[in-house]
């Protein structure tokens, strides 16, 4: 199927958005450190940024694997 990979890519991005919402709302948001609000917020922000980096890494890996398999392998 010509568009199979791209349909799959859309579904994976959708799933990552939902999974990200679950992690941030249900797990990260309730975190409260004894060190105070600023420390808690810093930790939450660090987790959120790390998540974005991991999500991007997953998507780049998928994209590279597909391009290697379908395009540059022919070269």
């Amino acid at each position: 199927m010509r568009l199979g990979f791209l349909f799959g890519f859309v579904v994976i991005m959708w799933a990552l958005i939902i999974l990200g919402a679950f992690i941030l709302i249900r797990i990260v948001a309730p975190i409260q450190l004894e060190a105070g609000d600023i420390a808690s917020s810093a930790l939450k922000a660090a987790i959120a940024v790390s998540m974005v980096v991991i999500w991007i890494w997953i998507l780049v890996a998928l994209k590279n694997a597909y391009i290697r398999r379908r395009l540059t392998a022919k070269n």
């Binding site: 568009l3 791209l6 859309v10 991005m13 958005i17 939902i18 919402a21 998507l59 994209k63 540059t72």
Partner: protein, 328 residues
Amino acid sequence: MSFVPAVIASAIAFLVTYLLTPALIKHLNKRGMVVKDYHKPNDKQVPRPGGPSIIVAIVAAELALFVFTMSNGVLAILLCTVIAFFIGYVDDRKVMPGYFKPLALVAAAIPIILLSAYDFYLDFPFFGSAKIPLLYIVLILFAIPIMGNTVNSIDVLNGVVSGFIAIASVPLIITLLLQNKTDIAIAALPLLLSALAFYKYHKYPSMIFPGDSGTLAWGAMYGAIALVGGVEVVATIALLPAVINSFLFLASVKRIAEHREVKARPTVLLDDHRLMASTERSAPATLVRLVLAHGPMHEDEIARSIFKLAAFSAGMAILTAALIGVSI
């Protein structure tokens, strides 16, 4: 009560774009404001920008709606769209560096903040809302440039950006109606109808290109509707094919750059005028290159493939909107 403003705003947006664009095509041709259509034989020249007919239609429709509603939200959407149009128009007339559009579009986000036309909540399916009072203002300042440039980046082939915006605006309107945000749903109608009317002239083979003034106005308006209507997540999902295109490009070139600044082309034009994906390792990954991964296609076939992807994402966005009320 909202039926009359909806009909008036829709009729103005559609008719003004539909009737004004042919005159604009003539005017641009007469003044020599044309650019090469790179995917056509014989150095075909196409008038650009079509943004002025789009913005006149949107401004007329939104002003009429503002008279009916006196809504801050409608005014914020209107001002954001107009500022984005002027930023795009500068880029249409003068070649600007790659950072100009993302940076300048921050100004288009200001009316939404100054008019307080937003709330602080991000609604997600299954897990409820996230309240982010301070962070939301930062989100607005980032969202308008990102949405504007994302829509701008999908202006890749004849008819694609106008058709794409028409498809992506449908889940936005449905979600706003489901959430009883009728004023903002009506404010989104001119986005859909100006894109539909412009598509008549922009579809393959294009008689006019929207230019950055047209695409940035549509993109910023789309973002403003998402923020003012509080349907950010749904809007992002409907926009995923364009997001993927931007993401692929940025992940390949690893910097903010205009397509013209990248030397290796993602596609190759064949003698029979079909497009083929480049097999060069240094060529940037783009949505079109991935669509072409299975073999060469004609330009209009690629556009139809992108529309199928847009329709799929629009379906996912509507599903997401339906699931927002569901909690687990």
